[in-house]
């Protein structure tokens, strides 16, 4: 898995590629929490269009990001969910909890 960061005005965008599983979800969690808690970026966006698979530990990292964002008053947005990633969020009844968009344009316009 690879994770890189872009900045657009007051928005940080994380481009993630590969699978998010037990081997690398700690890296996702660390990057998200650093951005939200330490940098206090007002809007954090996760580009998941190149993520084929997310396991429960990956979902947990996203939930932690969401909770941290709520705590500091930031927005936490996901876009580009694969069928598998969408299924996992549906199974855990979290799809409606997150702000989810189809693509980056929609995510940034929201």
């Amino acid at each position: 898995m690879q994770i890189s960061r872009r900045q657009l005005d007051k928005t940080a965008i994380f481009d993630v590629s590969g699978d998010i599983d037990l081997a690398n979800s700690p890296a996702v969690r660390k990057a998200l929490l650093k951005e939200i808690r330490d940098s206090r970026t007002p809007r954090v966006v996760m580009n998941l269009s190149n993520v084929r698979y997310i396991d429960s530990s990956g979902v947990a990292s996203l939930v932690e990001g969401l909770k941290a964002a709520r705590d500091v008053g930031s927005r936490f947005i996901l876009f580009g969910l694969s069928t598998s990633a969408r299924e996992v969020l549906q199974l855990s009844r979290l799809l409606k909890i997150f702000e989810v968009y189809d693509n980056e344009e929609q995510a940034l316009a929201a």
């Binding site: 599983d21 429960s56 939930v63």
Partner: protein, 186 residues
């Protein structure tokens, strides 16, 4: 037996053993291990290293496709196996990457009719016995991290059974291939 070598995060080498049985041998019982080898499709032996999870997912995806599952069911079985392995690594072995995990994939008769078929997956580890309280799932209404793996397994598979035998934790997962719908002539 095929062995794959892969470099681990700490620079060492890890090995995964894979035994694939061809279609013609699938249903042939074998010697004194006849029960377990009946319908054997694939056997995997691997260390409890999280970096191998993607290797197992790849193998399970291909196996379920060739077994005849629909695309959503292939994803469901792959997810269940991945979550079961994750639980073994995290809870049974406390994150130690060098403990043994064994997996058997077998073809079993269908639940409704023997002509249909199911995929049985047996996951074995040598960690301490799992307490029943550890197998409880949390409420999905709570929005908090963790505790979702068992939900994913239960929602993905038709049978989920845990047993402790001779110092080994055995998790048995079964998914049946839905019988094709019969056309009704009026």
């Amino acid at each position: 037996m095929t062995s794959l070598r892969r470099r681990s995060k700490d620079g060492g080498e890890i090995e995964i053993h894979m035994k694939i049985l061809h279609g013609a041998r699938r249903s042939k019982p074998k010697g004194r291990n006849g029960d377990l080898s009946r319908g054997l499709l694939l056997r995997l032996e691997l260390p409890s290293d999280p970096s191998l999870l993607c290797v197992v997912r790849g193998a399970v995806e291909r196996l379920t496709e060739s077994f005849g599952f629909s695309a959503p069911d292939c994803r469901a079985v792959t997810r269940a196996v991945d979550e079961a392995l994750t639980n073994i690594i995290r809870h049974s072995y406390n994150g130690r990457p060098d403990r043994p995990i064994g997996m058997l994939f077998r073809s079993v008769p269908g639940a409704a009719t023997p002509k249909a078929s199911g995929l049985e997956i047996l996951l074995c580890d040598r960690g301490p016995s799992i307490k029943r309280a550890q197998l409880c799932m949390r409420e999905l209404e709570e929005v908090r991290p963790g505790g979702l793996g068992l939900h994913f397994i239960q929602q993905s598979m038709d049978i989920v059974e845990y047993k402790r035998t001779n110092g080994t934790n055995r998790l048995r997962l079964v998914k049946y291939v839905p019988a094709p719908k019969q056309e009704v002539n009026s």
